[in-house]
Symmetry: C2
Subunit: 547 residues, 2 copies
């Protein structure tokens, strides 16, 4: 059969916009000869809607829009994700459901059975799970209609299943001839390959076609990568949509397999770059803005963010601001200017020495006899943050913050200073990966100046300051932090497998624990790893923890 | 029998401190003749530990500490809350459990069956629920050992139960003679009375003694009120611990009922005040600090926070900072000075005009031809935030932010300006309640100057500015916001029941939706209502929502 997979980019709560997009894609699918077209999980309301699900009118609107879509496109069968009210007298009030639309009506509804509630997922907070799964007869097929996580509990794939039921297996035992899965499965590095391997295992072990449509686009910190796919009964790929763009994929489920490119560390890194670009673009635009402002220090983090912003929003929509102090090297200024020139973005300079001096004088009576310390370093950073926010206010553009995951882990960043911004573009990118992404940006010629990439990292908040004054080199630091922040390893295991001294490891882990208060006031972070700062990583602040 | 209820204040992750506290209270209970002493849910590790539960060493430590407590206090039977590893081969890896300790050993363990996953609760994220409940024989009794939510699904009390099983009913049907409940049940306004009414319904409808011990103390935004209680088979109170303080309550379960004071709106308000004091004290101290800094505007919000801080930390540990601008009225300065004198706190003045002018001059080349607007108002606020943070850095004291729930709802506050701080003390207090709490502070004489309470509210960021230039009077605004923010009512219902014009209601709700980005970068908010900003209220930023 000819199957359509509509990999669309909905906006949370934009029922009118999402509805029109769904109708338009469904009509195109009909025109291109598809008999059935699939839309992602919660395509009608956008994913994740979070506590909007606690609002009755939100859920009611979702139900109404599904009926409107059915009436608007009677010429093709549609499966689309939406939320609906639960009719049970006990439990949660909402269901995460898939509607089958045909001949102008909602003919069949299947609710989601497995509700993820780990990392960024809170679905048990909102949804009553399906009590049972039913087959959907369509043409000569009996369809297993599943929603995202429903297909993520395969006993052959996972070492330790999270749930004691596998809806896919149940449906196949009941006679399903094809598995359909509508997803809103967010990206992290390596996830597209993992997802496809997992679905191929399901196809192969049951000998059935598996079709999965995934949402694409950014919603706050989450980026959905698309990568919708149809797999043959032997696990081979019958059709595959692109990453990080909307697409209507039409696949003949009886067609031949198509060759698949290999993935490796390099392709994963490219995925991360595209995720950051799409995440930045959608965050800015879905917030109702067009333009972004970035403080340019001459360093690699702000240079990479400027390149991402230029690719996401267009160079004409990016303003770079240099805010040199007496501690800024001349190299930093020339590097930042060269970057702006390479990218073709507007650049402005606002020196901060005068403002710093007036703060210094205002505070002097209270600081008599006290030595200079971190206070004065943070003050410079906060002056810069205040200038960027003034520009944001006056020009109606969002500030993008430039801190990386290494800095945010150990607190090597200033709250209300360099942390200001609407979005922490690199908040989930380790410093060592920042360099790799910068090299990728320069793949066709220098955009980020070579001197930015070759000089040692420095915050330039006191004379001659280097990051290595406070921290080990990032090649040493990042593996320690990654093991702790992403994999929750203990100090002694980290010391053993990284080869770093136990004292150093413990000192770094203590910095992580002491910086939680900064992270809780950080801008939303674009998630590109399996464990990002933000809603998927929840730690208390006023806690006492041994490391 | 003589039952001990140890209403203690543990710190999350402080296994050594919590263990010593539990041992000390258990010994006291034995000395005072109790046969059995109860400690709160997760007393061993503190509640809520959040994602620390994903760390194997954290859970292992919890198991070890329970065994150590058993060995340390063999002279009395103990029931204590802890977390333990799940031994299942499927599902979540941790259990929320109660251990019964006797004769130096762990003799019995009951796991929690009902795991709350709404508002601030995420327990399904971590815990595998109990598959069954078992009775604990003790002396001549058969104890129903339940953990917090296990007792919150009574079919006689709730209109619509959240869970399809009632563990208390199951245990009573199996022959339980007494219900024990160990809780970490956080405070909100009216909750202590609700909790007790609910437990009294359980006692009465089954005709059994019900004993509930509750944690006390602040952990980040949550404040636990204690109010541990023993109820007789007729629902009367046999013993009751105080609110908001640690206490070892010893109750004879065969003893007489004691008279109970009535609760009303006034006593609820006093509870809120005590919650704010305890929450502030514990946040500051559990973060390792002793002192707080507050920007004093001469207005009621900062005056109330200063009074709370003085009560929480001692007047000698509070620094008030006046940062007047050219728009500050002379009344504001004299009011703030009078407040500081009344409270006996140190006060300093740092005028901001000079700093504002240097910012203004630095930005002038970029702002040529553009009119003054919100930018310059925010700039003043951010200069003040930067000064407060400089003092915080240099003096090693935490900044307390002073914004109230009304302002945070509509975004009438400056991100990185007046929103800076380690804790948003009044972030869950409506402006109209701020005035009531201020009156309570003045119950025995003027601490907050009368002129602060009687003058119209103003941000004083431009000449003659009044809050009512941008917003309706708070008597009109607060009911609108409360209906929307706490009860998720729709605009037309709000207009109908408040009598406010639909246009005004919609305008205010739009402000709420547009301000979400500010709230997500706010300091932790002390929760004192059923729906507070913070982790219990999760909304996306980049969304499009009709109001």
């Amino acid at each position: 059969m000819k199957l359509g997979l509509a990999q669309i980019n909905p906006t949370v709560g934009d029922f009118e916009g999402n509805k029109n997009k769904i109708i338009q894609y469904a009509r195109q699918a009909a025109e291109r000869g598809a008999e059935l077209v699939l839309f992602p999980e919660m395509a009608v309301c956008g994913y994740p809607p979070a506590d909007f699900l606690d609002k009755q009118d939100f859920v009611q609107c979702s139900e109404e829009v599904v009926a409107e879509i059915a009436r608007a496109v009677p010429e093709i069968a549609i499966i689309v994700g939406f939320v609906q009210r639960s009719t049970e007298s006990v439990g949660k009030r909402v269901r995460n459901s898939a509607a089958f639309l045909k001949d102008g009506e909602v003919k069949f509804v299947q609710q989601k059975m497995l509700l993820p509630y780990y990392d960024v997922f809170d679905e048990q907070r909102y949804f009553e799970p399906a009590a049972r799964q039913e087959l959907l007869p369509f043409d000569s097929e009996k369809m297993a209609v599943t929603i995202c996580e429903d297909a993520w509990n395969d006993g052959d794939f996972w070492l330790r299943p999270l749930y004691n039921v596998d809806p896919v297996e149940l449906l196949l035992k009941a006679g399903a001839t094809m598995v359909l899965n509508i997803s809103s499965s967010p990206f992290h590095r390596g996830k597209p390959a993992l997802r496809q391997r997992m679905l191929a295992t399901v196809a192969r072990s049951h000998g059935k076609v598996v079709a999965m449509v995934n949402q694409v686009g950014g919603n706050d910190g989450l980026v959905f990568d698309g990568n919708s796919v149809v797999l043959g009964p032997d696990g081979s790929v019958l059709g595959h949509a692109q990453s990080f763009v909307e697409e209507l994929l039409i696949v003949d489920t009886d067609g031949p397999a198509i060759p698949q490119p290999e993935t490796n560390a390099d392709t994963e890194l490219v995925d991360v770059y595209h995720a950051l670009v799409l995440g930045t673009r959608d965050y800015v635009r879905k917030c109702g803005f067009e333009r972004a402002i970035i403080g340019l220090s001459g360093g690699v983090d702000s240079a990479l963010v400027a390149a991402i912003a230029a690719d996401a929003l267009g160079k004409e929509n990016v303003l770079g601001v240099l805010m040199p102090s007496e501690y800024s090297s001349s190299g930093s200024v020339t590097d930042a200017l060269a970057l702006a020139k390479n990218l073709g973005i507007r650049v402005e300079q606002i020196p901060i020495a005068g403002t710093f001096d007036t703060f210094d004088a205002a505070l002097a009576p209270l600081f008599t006899g006290m030595p200079r310390d971190l206070t004065e370093e943070n003050l410079q950073s906060r002056i810069r943050g205040t200038l960027l926010m003034a520009l944001s206010n006056k020009l109606g553009a969002l500030v993008l913050s430039t801190g990386n995951k290494s800095e945010m882990s150990v607190g090597y960043c200033t709250l209300y200073g360099d942390m200001v911004g609407a979005l922490a573009v690199l908040g989930d990118v380790w410093k060592t990966d920042v360099y790799k992404l910068a090299r990728y940006v320069n793949r066709d010629g220098e955009r980020i100046p070579e001197s930015t990439l070759s000089k040692p990292p420095s915050a330039e908040l006191r004379p001659g300051q280097m990051d290595t004054d406070s921290l080990p080199p990032y090649e040493v630091l990042d593996p320690i932090l990654k093991a702790y922040v992403e994999h929750y390893q203990q100090a002694q295991d980290i010391a053993a497998h990284t080869g770093a001294p136990m004292k150093l490891v413990q000192a770094m882990l203590k910095l992580v624990e002491r910086s939680e208060y900064k992270r809780q006031q950080a801008a939303p972070v674009l998630k590109v790893t399996a464990k990002s700062f933000g809603p998927g990583r929840r730690f208390p602040i006023a806690a006492k923890v041994q490391v």
